[in-house]
């Protein structure tokens, strides 16, 4: 490896004549390094690259119940781009992303700042409690919320009825997206909070001292010092959320058993791909959908990242 400074420092004089020996040593080191990363690459290739390649290959074929498999070129992709169900599911997730992610990350940031300020009492316990929903498996969480949302016997509906608000229908086709946003927010606020909190802890304390000397209060410090300092961590949570949102699967799949009339087969792109593959038996088309979905996620993530970089550059040149 190129960066082994310790080795070079030890034998500064022997550099030229002993080049062979050093590089033999180097080779040994290199071998060790490769050896250490081999397990990762073996699994990476076997479990990700190969299936991905196979899915890509499959997506170029068309298989019918009668007539079997034929090469179709990009026909599946053309069909997907014209498939109103697929496009609607992407649109639904875009809406989900635009509404839910700011709420979730705003809350996560708020909690992280509150915990970091050191003013909240019992912050350790609070940290754990906020994080706990993330430790609950999504399957269990969705089932639990399904019960809480129940129109007849769910506690929320019962309370609403007893105070005269009527029965809120969380599981109707109009409301299910909001109900799902609530579940996902509940699940992932803690997770994002921990990322942001860890980043906050890493800010050097000199910055706070300087801010204090300049007369900045808690809120000013949070706004002008803390948030800019953890911008890259915030970006990270945004990227995670993009990926998470477009890949939503557990929630629609489980809510489907409770509210099959509200969750359509193409509620989310991932769920659509699953249904295409296992219900419609259109495996090849499902592969194409999955590939397109990956593409959408990559593009959105890239645009967000690019935007952020451009802003950072502008700010730097402006300052």
């Amino acid at each position: 490896m190129s960066h082994a400074p310790a080795l070079d420092d030890e034998r500064p004089t022997a550099a030229a004549p002993q080049k062979r020996r050093v590089s033999a040593n180097q080779r040994k080191l290199n071998r060790a390094a490769y050896l250490f990363i081999t397990p990762f690459f073996v699994i990476f290739v076997a479990m990700l690259i190969v299936p991905l390649g196979y899915a890509g290959y499959l997506s170029l074929f068309e298989s019918r119940l009668i007539g079997g498999e034929t090469f179709a070129g990009f026909a599946n992709y053309v069909r997907a781009l014209q498939d109103p169900d697929f496009l609607a599911s992407i649109g639904r997730m875009a809406l989900f992303f635009v509404v839910q992610v700011p709420i979730m990350l705003g809350l996560a940031l708020f909690f992280a700042l509150a915990l970091d300020s050191g003013r909240a009492r019992g912050s350790k316990g609070a940290r754990l409690l906020i994080f706990m929903p993330y430790a609950v498996p999504a399957v269990v969480a969705t089932l639990m919320w399904g019960y809480l949302y129940g129109p007849d016997f769910g506690p929320i509906a019962q309370i609403a009825r007893s105070v005269g608000f009527g029965t809120p229908d969380f599981l109707s086709p109009e409301n299910i997206l909001g109900s799902m946003m609530n579940i996902v927010t509940w699940e992932f606020v803690g997770y994002n909070m921990i990322i942001l909190y860890a980043a906050l802890r890493a800010i050097p304390s000199e910055l706070y001292e300087a801010a204090e000397i300049d007369g900045a209060g808690q809120f000013r410090t949070a706004w002008s010092v803390k948030i800019p300092a953890i911008r890259s961590a915030i970006l990270l949570t945004v990227i995670f959320s993009i990926i998470g949102t477009f890949q939503l699967f557990n929630e629609p799949s489980l809510l489907n058993t409770i509210a099959p009339d509200a969750i359509t087969n193409s509620f989310t792109p991932n769920y659509y791909a699953y249904n295409l593959a296992f219900i419609n038996q259109e495996l090849n088309y499902a592969a194409a959908i999955a590939f397109l979905l990956g593409l959408v996620i990559a593009i959105v993530s890239y645009v967000v990242q690019l935007n952020e970089q451009r802003r950072a550059r502008k700010e730097r040149s402006g300052a």
Partner: protein, 451 residues
């Protein structure tokens, strides 16, 4: 299979003859196919049943090990591994995956009637005719046998069926001034009004996304929504006259808020049955025992009756659910596998135990007539002989009803097109048209000829 080699056929005819002798030996009292002293001992069958063999059997029937034990007792050379890989959709997905992968598929698999044709299409099932299936066809109710044997081939041995009837709360109906179960659908609509007015309950619930129930109603009304010739032609007619008659009937009751449309088989629905939100359940023969476990607190208040009729004086019913045991074409021990599928569902002791211990509603005539089964008086239904009633209903199920070879899609499409409309209290007839369009488009895209 359709192009089964001739040797197999020859072999089969010999085997069929031998079946007579073997059943005589294995079943406790000779049973239906006793007699016949001229039966020829079939070497293949004898050999297959005496060669140490391992079979795998995929099923989700609880405690079926009990019946399998009986089989292993009768044929000690054969050992059977029972595997439960999931219920319903999951089971079929795994089965398809195993078949696709070319390994790991079982020898015998549980197969609901409506899924048979999709596996016939992929040539995954073994035709049981050459193995002697026609010998036992007469021992099952006719319409059930038609389900496994729509043409010349037989694809499975019927295990249980679900002829439909009406379970209702006698006390709630009495409160509304109704002393007898409604005999016709018109009566039922009147009763629904009375029940709603007097007690606030719904006379029953139509599960918004429950295709099985709605198809059962269509079956009763004489609709023939699906058809499949076993090759490349399907017929799809989910929006025919009879189907629309059913659809319009329910649309009217649902829009008048006399029938609820809650999604069934979830907690809300279970509680609705237990607490009187629904005063009844139009269900299948597997329903009575199921309900008994679900609504324990209402024991003694329920009664069973036939489905209301479209014309007074008629007795017609439909079917909802039930399965068979099929032998996979990939099985290396087809003779033993067939014997297993047959034994489980045909041996008198085994079949009776399925009916009285696992509460599968039997398609076997011997069980239906057995007083140990038919005479059971259920406390939950005020001591009524519910089994005897459903045994009678079973004889009134329309005999010819076919399925499409892609029922997964049919059900999922039903949820999308009809289910959403029922939930929104919309026009079900119009939704049937949309369902028809979706099904036709799918069938054509999959290369079928649609009639």
């Amino acid at each position: 299979m359709r192009n089964a080699p001739r040797t197999a056929l020859k072999l089969g005819s010999v085997a069929a003859a031998a079946a007579l002798l073997l059943t005589a030996c294995s079943s406790s009292d000779g049973g239906d196919s006793g007699a016949s002293g001229d039966a020829i001992t079939d070497e293949q069958r004898e050999e297959a049943l005496n060669t140490p063999t391992e079979l795998t059997f995929w099923t989700w029937v609880p405690d079926i090990q009990n019946e399998v034990d009986l089989f292993e007792e009768a044929y000690p050379a054969i050992s059977v591994t029972v595997e439960n890989v999931g219920q319903g959709a999951e089971h079929y997905q795994k089965l398809r995956s195993a078949l696709e992968a070319g390994q790991g598929a079982p020898d015998v698999a549980q197969m609901e009637y409506q899924y048979i044709s999709s596996f016939v299409l992929s040539e995954a099932l073994l035709d049981l005719e050459p193995y002697g299936a026609d010998e036992i066809s007469g021992d099952f109710v006719e319409w059930a046998w038609n389900q496994v044997s729509p043409g010349d081939e037989t694809w499975g041995i019927p295990q249980d069926v679900g002829p439909m009837g009406n379970l209702y709360r006698e006390d709630i109906l009495a409160e509304a001034g109704i002393d007898e179960a409604p005999a016709t659908w018109d009566d039922y609509a009147d009763a629904a009004q009375a029940v709603k007015d007097e007690t606030g309950s719904y006379i029953s619930n139509v599960g918004a996304t429950q295709a099985g129930q709605m198809i059962g109603f269509m079956w009763q009304a004489g609709a023939k929504p699906f058809g499949y010739d076993g090759a490349e032609t399907v017929s799809i007619n989910v929006n025919g006259t009879e189907a629309k008659q059913v659809a319009d009937y329910w649309t009217e009751l649902i829009q008048a808020d006399l029938i609820s449309t809650d999604v069934d088989f979830n907690d809300e629905w279970y509680q609705g049955l237990a607490n009187g939100k629904y005063a009844g359940w139009l269900t299948a023969a597997w329903g009575p025992i199921f309900l008994q476990g679900t609504a324990e607190s209402t024991s003694g208040l329920w009664r069973a009756a036939p489905l209301p009729q479209w014309s007074a004086g008629e007795q017609v019913s439909g079917n909802w659910g039930g399965s068979s045991d099929a032998v996979l074409a990939t099985s290396e021990n087809p003779i033993a596998a067939y014997e297993l599928a047959k034994f489980i569902n045909h041996d008198e002791e085994s079949a009776l135990r399925l009916a009285t211990e696992q509460f599968l509603f039997p398609p076997q005539l011997s069980v239906l007539e057995d007083p140990a089964f038919a005479g059971q008086q259920l406390e939950f239904y005020g001591g009524q002989e519910v089994n005897a009633l459903f045994a009678e209903i079973s004889e009134t199920v329309d005999t010819d009803f076919e399925w499409l070879p892609f029922m997964d899609f049919v059900y999922s499409s039903y949820e999308e097109t009809v289910g959403t409309v029922i939930a929104a209290k919309g026009d079900i007839s119009a939704a049937l048209d949309e369902w028809q369009t979706e099904l036709t488009e799918y069938a054509e895209a999959q290369g079928f000829t649609v009639e």
